[in-house]
Amino acid sequence: GAVEMEQKRCCGELQGPSAPSRGRQGRSRSALPAPRRHGEPESALRKLQEHQLSTDAPASRQPWCATVRRRRGRGDGRVRRLTGGGSSVTSWIHAGLVATSALAIWKAMMLVTLCESPVVVVLSGSMEPGFYRGDILFLNMGKRKVDNGEIVVFNIDGRDIPIVHRSLRVHTERSTGNQEILTKGDNNYANDRGLYKPGQDWLQKKHLIGRVVGYCPYVGMLTIIMNDYPFLKYMLIGILGFFVVTSKDEM
């Protein structure tokens, strides 16, 4: 806006509607006119003229307007941006924004569902034919009591991987409201007492991470592949980082 007015004033003619100075960027790179430096106006302007002639910007023949024109393409001939090397800072910031918004969504889900891990990937086949390896489950903990037959995800002391099984028996104490839960995988013959810590016969609500409320097939296969082959994980991060650094597109 402001720059176009300058152009009209100094060039004395209207710009066409195809104002080439708008270009793709839509944002002026050189909003302020560059100051002429004493002692070198001629050569710089000549260089600029040559540069302009090589592009298809019309009505650029008046040299002293050229310094205030916005240029199509990458950078001005005369006015260099101070942040050299393309828009890498912007792309780093953009990548950081994407990463932190993903983290914010994850944390918000944790708050809403009261689970430490609101989305889990099924690793074993103990709940087939319902859940196969590589499916993802959406969890919700909530404050209400555990009902019998709910599919729950729980941790066992001494095991680092949580287990997804269905509750088989639930006993709710009258005085304290504590619940004792016994679980069993749909595809297993026996209940889970063999999986619990030695001496532990029941689960309590404190062992549960959440109950399954939603299901989506196959999406977790990527997580399983990256778990089984860690070099894929590093390669993926490396590729993403490479694209962030070398990306020249304005996001």
């Binding site: 034919p129 639930v170 299901y215």
Partner: protein
Amino acid sequence: MHSWTSRANLLFSFSTSCLAVVCLLAAATEWWHPKEVDAHLEIRRVETFKSVTKGNEMLALNMKLDLDTSKLFSWNTKQVFFWLQAEFASGRHENNQVTFVDHIVRSTDRKVFREENIRNEYPIVSRGRALRGNTLNVTLHWEALPKVGALRVGSVPLVRGYLLPQHYFVDG
């Protein structure tokens, strides 16, 4: 903008977004599918009622069950998990819920059942001496697992206030 990498990136992100929207829409169609079960259970007799370790009691029943589950299945249903649940209250526990029969019906399996002699798959075990002379409720619960979307559960009360015997016995 026209490099193969940006094209691949755009294609990938667009296709995953489309897939996510399709999954959400498929999950949303379940809202318009009312789920009902027709079921009838009759407890023929108590087969085993005895005391087991740790001061608990165990119960085994013989039942007759008629079940029609066809209305539970929609195009988005992968399988339905059924279980028969015995509920009883005791002095120490306000609620005891014990699954004693369960079954998985996949969308390709037969959906109507007429079983004359069902026995427990899992024993009904109490915590402490809670079953003698107590009354038992039996409910049928179902959980529909979708191909994509939210799990839905429901229940049908089948037997209310079935009186359990006062003495232990084993009746093969």
